[in-house]
């Protein structure tokens, strides 16, 4: 199963630093989808998310190959670092976009990519309906709650890694995730009513 379990992340970062052939491609393969989901979670727009991820990966390449020395690369927590880059770029983009379209969470909903990969009972139609409801509910959460939901439940990151990404303590994070879940549940119960409660 050589393909399923890649080299540990430190080694991956180091091989990019040493410009080994194929190393950066492996990095992209490994993280692109995750980073895209995260950016998409913050921006709620597939094209912006794509742009941010491209930008972040280019910056990562430059940093790993040109700007950082070996010692720094070796000490780097690659996954949180990449997520942090995407986060900062996404928030910048969101800020600059705020004027023209203030969070259009329902804009790209009909992209026919609902989540059927679950083994839950219930026919296809109800499952789609439910997925759609959930997607709406998440889109309506405040961005702080939304990004936590994505990091924790879509990317399935550990609390330790999320703490490194966001620069917060694990204990505080547990409370924040709990509140984000509570907001999500409330939003689901309220249906598609806009939700203006802040998580803090």
């Amino acid at each position: 199963m050589a393909h399923a379990l890649g080299a540990p992340e430190v080694e991956l970062a180091l091989s990019v630093h040493r410009c080994q052939s194929g190393a950066f491609e492996r990095l992209i393969e490994r993280f692109e989808t995750s980073l895209f989901n995260y950016a998409h979670g913050i921006l709620q727009n597939a094209f912006d998310a794509q742009e941010v991820v491209q930008d972040a990966l280019m910056r990562a390449h430059k940093a790993l190959t040109k700007q950082y020395d070996e010692e720094r690369v070796a000490a780097l927590a690659l996954r949180p670092w990449l997520f942090r880059t995407v986060r900062n770029l996404s928030l910048n983009k969101r800020r600059s976009r705020r004027g023209d379209h203030l969070d259009q969470p329902l804009a790209d909903f009909d992209d026919n990519r609902l989540g059927p990969f679950t083994n839950d009972t219930g026919d296809d139609f109800t499952r789609r309906e439910e997925a759609e409801m959930l997607r709406r509910a998440i889109a309506l959460l405040p961005v702080e709650a939304r990004e936590l939901i994505v990091l924790r439940f879509i990317e399935e990151m550990s609390y330790a890694d999320i703490a490194k990404t966001l620069g917060s303590s694990e204990a505080a994070l547990r409370g924040k995730v709990f509140r984000a879940l509570k907001l999500l549940r409330e939003a689901l119960e309220k249906g598609s009513q806009p939700c203006d409660v802040r998580p803090h």
Binding site: L5, G6, F31, T33, Q50, G115, P116, T118, E155, E156
Partner: protein, 286 residues
Amino acid sequence: MRCKTALTRVDAARTGELEASEHRAVSDHLKKCRSCGDSLDDVEKLARAVKSLAVAPLRSCCDEIDHVDQIDDVWIAFSRKGLRMIHRGGTLQEFAQRYAQRYGCALEPGKLTAPLRKQVSDALRGEGVDKPQLDLDESSELEMKVMNTLARIPRGEVRTYSWLAEEIGKPRAVRAVANFVARNIVPFVVPCHRVVPATGGIGSYAFGSPAKRDLLRREGVDVDALEALARDHVRYIGSKTTNIVCFPTCKDAKRIRQENRVPFHVAAEAIEKGFRPCRRCRPFAA
């Protein structure tokens, strides 16, 4: 522990990320307090539902188009490098949609290469696959560990979810690990059907319990005997001559003569009697 404290720790406990003492305090509280206990199920349900919303980036220029082929009612997506997704039943359109969601890539009908076809049909026939040739996008570290450990369960044997959690070094994350097993993207080839509940029985399966039972039987597991042991709550079998204790389906356990077999219900019982865990099936940590 108060409800409020417990509730904020439920999610971390689910994935086994709390300190041992804290984990114990939370699970004790969840057992006692019904409303908090319900909230664990609730968090789990939400987590599963949210996970299914993951999207793949739109790839405008795929350097390689992946292909799809069929063996009986099983759809198989593959690339030049290996198998990428397997699913039994449904239409091609449903399968392609699933694929697009996971990999952000379209599928074209194609022909499986002979070695790949052999792997899948061997797996379906219950012959087992030693080294599955896979081309999975890298996912979370935990998920990769789960897949690798699954692939190491020998044909003709079964393991429990708690064993799996223990093996990957996350003994407290049984539920999270079970979720990864449930959404195995390449079933049959990576043998998620070889994991059964510790309490006995065959457990559920993406393609139905009877299919799991059938597959295990074809791999040489004596399913009825296993269930009979489970009814008596026997979880380990020891040997009087060697003082070694195994899982009942371990190759070495099957060689123990009838008169030398010692059944055990819990690990502690075996340790107390001076038995050591088998080094091959590693039923529990020594």
